[in-house]
């Protein structure tokens, strides 16, 4: 038995029964979670383990930096595009390439469409089943659902009793078939589900409605990037040319294309306003007594910022998404964040399946080294290929532990919204105050699983509105005669210095994302990504600080340990993305001879 206080304020006790969740589903990629619960079923120890590793940064070494976006885009197909955007920004930073205003607007619209889409899909298709019980929806009176719909969102046209009855009938047939598909083996009798049947039916109906609608949002990216998932990007701008009324306009971004984008933006705004936000608030109303999952959100938050208003200015004042760090729970002071400062961001590996020459120290991404080192601890139950219980005193995850000035940090929509709130950002403050007032809860309610889920919805709403802003801005720019979408002055590698380094950043849907690269003799000499789930899903560090997932699970009561819906609820509130978080670099040219091939 180990009892320990972590430097970041958590009391760990592994005396109780160990509960293992593997695979954690409804996430991107693969992760495992283990907790110890005491005799009252309260979580007293939590372990988050990334269970996949692909080695993309090794693969990037020696490649053409102009190609890097395509490789790193494949880090994640859910937050598709955000890695690509981060990559082209990193290369442009290294080579001092300035992009045209239209390219900035198009990139922002693409990034904002991702925020809107990803948050919507997360809420309905990855997270909803933690709060919504589709089987219970069969008991609903469609008239009651219709009344609820008209009460929470009177403008949404699909609100008749017949509409909800149709969905219910379809669901009924589905359940009666005995083939429950994705709903099979859910925890449908668990008392942790609190919605009345009519609200469950409402949410299930919108699960399907949102599934139909979400595909349209991404057509915006198909217009500009040719396909989605994984649209095309370009160092120096965007690949799509603008031609409004010249010869061959039909083959470029023309009036018809702009109209298509514009119409999708309008429909996205409407859907989020009329369906997503009302549903979020209605569901939250029933769960506002469930205030678990705060974790690091009340103390340690980090945002890099994103969505540059003017092109090529990445200073905090020009970024429409907030940037800054909050530590020690002090919301009166937002610290400046500098991704190039070797003292700020460092990654540690004592509990990660990598080795450093000296694992007591952390390394800045530009100077990092990584060698995979899959080694389980002596107290692991099972063996190296059949793990029953992890030994968290040793290495236990494919995720590294990044720290900001030594602090484990939470990133993501809640981090951005709290940083924005602390900075007095008008739009964010208004949105947050509206939610707090509607739900009649204090500001402290933000620091919870539910707060994280609410911030994501508000951000989707904000992002949809900002797409309209950049669309209007681009039209005005075109009207003023500027059609440029790419700067090719430094396209040719012969124009590049022999040795440069750069950093690019975005706010991915899941949080702060940074790529650091070095270019030598026109080739990638080093590429390093520190991604949102590396922050949130990080294991312990050398000081014993636990990461954001682990912290958020602490002290939560689990109604039925064999049906840990509460664990899923809190983990999902971060929208984990494991393919993103597990990676490696090899900056010194080391061949990966340590990889054992058997």
């Amino acid at each position: 038995m180990t009892v320990r206080n972590t430097p970041n304020g958590f009391h760990l006790n592994d005396a109780g029964r160990r509960v293992v969740v593997d695979p954690v589903t409804r996430i991107e990629g693969h992760m495992r979670c283990e907790v110890n619960i005491d005799e009252d079923n309260i979580i007293r120890n939590a372990i988050s383990s990334g269970t996949m590793w692909r080695g993309l940064e090794v693969i990037l070494k020696g490649r053409d930096p102009r190609d890097a976006w395509a490789f790193v885009q494949r880090i994640c197909g859910v937050c598709t595009g955000t890695h690509a955007l981060t990559s082209v920004r990193a290369v442009e930073d290294a080579l001092n390439i300035k992009i045209p205003e239209n390219a900035n607007s198009i990139r922002n619209i693409m990034q904002l469409s991702l925020q809107a889409h990803d948050h919507l899909v997360h809420f309905y298709h990855l997270h909803a089943l933690d709060w919504v019980n589709p089987v219970n929806a069969l008991k609903a009176d469609p008239n009651a659902t219709s009344a609820l719909q008209q009460q929470i969102s009177p403008s949404h046209p699909k609100s008749s009793p017949g509409y909800f009855r149709d969905t219910q009938n379809r669901l009924k047939k589905f359940v009666e078939s005995g083939q429950l598909g994705p709903f099979k083996n859910g925890y449908w009798t668990n008392p942790a589900y609190l919605l009345p049947p009519e609200a469950d039916l409402l949410a299930v109906t919108h699960y399907l409605e949102a599934l139909d609608f979400q595909k349209d949002i991404m057509k915006i990216r198909t217009v500009f990037g040719g396909k989605d998932p994984h649209p095309n990007w370009l160092v120096g701008g965007v690949p799509c040319a603008i031609n409004i009324d010249g010869i061959g306009a039909v083959g470029a971004i023309n009036m018809e294309r702009l109209n298509l984008v514009s119409s999708i933006i309008d429909r996205t705004i409407t859907f989020i306003d009329q369906v997503y936000i009302p549903d979020l608030l209605a569901i939250a109303q029933f769960y506002k007594g469930w205030m678990y999952g705060g974790g690091l959100s009340g103390t340690s938050l980090l945002a890099y910022g994103d969505i540059p208003d003017k092109a090529n200015d990445y200073s905090a004042s020009n970024l429409l998404m907030p940037r800054g760090a909050i530590i020690n729970g002090d919301l009166t002071k937002v610290h400046e964040v500098d991704l190039t400062d070797p003292e700020q961001i460092k990654e540690f590996v004592p509990h990660s399946w990598y080795s450093y020459p000296d694992e007591a120290i952390g390394l800045h991404p530009w100077d990092g080294i990584t060698e995979p080192n899959y080694k389980i601890g002596p107290n692991t139950k099972g063996d190296r290929t059949h793990i029953k219980e992890l030994d968290e005193a040793a290495k236990y995850s494919w995720i590294k532990a990044p720290r900001w000035r030594g602090h484990a940090m939470e990133v993501g929509p809640l981090a951005r919204y709290v940083v924005g709130y602390a900075q007095g950002n008008k739009e964010i403050t208004e949105q947050i105050n509206f939610v707090l007032k509607t739900l009649d809860v204090p500001v402290s309610a933000l620091f919870s699983t539910l707060g994280r889920t609410a911030a994501r919805g508000l951000e989707a709403q904000w992002a949809a509105g900002k797409m309209r802003y950049f669309m209007d801005k681009m039209i005005a720019n075109i009207k003023a005669g500027d059609l440029a979408t790419a700067n090719v002055e430094r396209w040719d590698p012969e124009t590049w210095p022999s040795s440069v380094k750069g950093v690019g950043f975005t706010e991915a849907p899941r949080g702060a994302l940074g790529h650091w690269l070095k270019i030598e003799d026109s080739k990638i000499a080093n590429y390093q990504c520190v991604v949102p789930t590396t922050w949130n899903g990080s294991p312990r560090d050398q000081q014993g600080n636990i990461g954001a997932f682990e912290a958020a699970l602490m002290n939560t009561k689990v109604e039925r340990p064999e049906e840990p819906v509460e664990i899923l609820r809190t983990l999902h509130s971060f929208d984990p993305c494991l393919a993103c978080s597990t990676h490696v670099i090899s900056p010194d040219g080391t061949e990966l001879t340590s990889v054992k091939v058997r």
């Binding site: 395509a70 965007v238 979408t485």
Partner: protein, 363 residues
């Protein structure tokens, strides 16, 4: 009780008369006598949805994301009415033991009668522990689920070829499904692309259910209905290629006019996929239409074939065509000659007039 394929068609507004006609056509296309039509109709009216185990290895989930963007049929209808998607860790409600139990249940209950869909691939290095599911190597789960399945669908370039994690030096020894040692010998349908087109994915599923057989596969195991022709063959910018009209720089006048992207590195001439015909996201666009060359994402090893912006230098191995680099040559005279040769050869097939060409048009 069970919503069958027939119910789905009826619900989608198809009349019984059309349904029966559809069954007759199906019988005919399968080479059966018209007497089989009622049997097909009966099967479609009564058979339960086929269980699917959709496993995820090393991947980025772009295939699942693409799948949910399908416009016809809608992903909703595929999931609720065509298949029984019993295991898919991206969307399933169950987690942990409850999730793992589903794999065992389906394997035992539906021996030989479920489809195994694989997104991603298993890493074989480090005893498979670069991808761990339930404390064990993913490759174990894959082999177990493959043992009793009816057929395997290899979604996307990861499962089909290896894709990005298998790019050099392939640090995890990521291995495409058909090359996994000891994997049960089952029919494998490769649906490559990074990701594959949504409607191609759902069409492959619908084909399996509608015709109750595997689609015709090419020598590499891909459905020939979508992968038998190059993007270049059906590209709407092809006339600009034939005419020697090329984009030379991003955002130049030729780019704004939608001319050929061959010189910008377009891999359309060597890529077999349906992008230029089916297009993406319900026909909204495809990479070339939106100004970027094809990067060849449905081809084996496309990550290791040079930069995406490097011009193809030798594409004459594909049958009737001249070495297309002759067309793309920078000297106007070369371009002119190249076009003449090229046009002469293609004329055999398309009855085009060489005189229509404008040698040196790019000057």
């Amino acid at each position: 009780m069970i919503e069958t394929f027939y119910d789905v068609m009826r619900r989608q507004g198809i009349t019984r008369r059309s349904f029966l006609k559809f069954c007759s056509l199906t019988a005919a296309s399968l080479g059966l006598s018209p007497a089989f039509a009622p049997k097909i109709a009966h099967a479609m009216e009564t058979k339960p949805r086929i269980p699917v185990l959709w496993l995820h290895g090393l991947e980025c989930t772009c295939c699942s994301e693409s799948f949910i963007r399908s416009g016809h049929p809608l992903a909703k209808d595929v999931i609720l009415s065509m298949l029984s998607l019993d295991y898919d860790d991206t969307i399933m409600a169950a987690a942990g033991h409850n999730a793992e139990a589903i794999v065992t249940e389906i394997v035992e209950k539906y021996k030989g009668n479920y489809i195994l869909a694989v997104e991603g691939n298993p890493p074989l290095a480090e005893d498979g522990m670069y991808c761990i599911i339930g404390g064990k190597p993913f490759v174990e789960q894959l082999k177990y689920a493959a043992e009793s399945c009816k057929a395997i669908i290899s979604w996307g370039s990861c499962a089909s070829w290896g894709c990005v994690q298998a790019a050099k030096p392939n640090p995890t020894r990521a291995t495409p499904v058909h090359k996994v040692p000891g994997l049960a010998d089952k029919p494998i349908i490769k649906v490559p692309g990074c990701p594959p087109i949504a409607e191609v994915m759902t069409a492959v599923v619908a084909y399996l259910l509608t015709f109750d057989k595997l689609p015709t596969l090419d020598k590499q195991g891909r459905p020939q209905m979508f992968y038998s022709q190059r993007i270049h063959d059906k590209c709407y910018r092809r006339p600009h290629f034939d005419a020697g009209q090329f984009v030379e720089h991003w955002d130049d006048e030729a780019a704004r006019q939608g001319q050929c992207l061959y010189k910008m590195g377009c891999k359309g001439p060597t890529t077999y996929n349906a992008c230029s015909t089916v297009k993406w996201n319900e026909g909204t666009s495809f990479p070339i239409q939106s100004g970027h060359g094809c990067i060849g994402c449905s081809e084996d090893g496309f990550w290791d074939k040079g930069s995406f912006y490097q011009r193809l230098t030798d594409i004459n191995q594909f049958g009737i065509e001249a070495n297309a680099d002759a067309v793309g040559g920078t000297a106007a005279a070369v371009v002119g000659a190249g076009v003449a040769v090229h046009a002469g050869l293609t004329a055999l097939h398309r009855a085009k007039q060489p005189g229509d060409k404008q040698p040196g048009a790019e000057q």
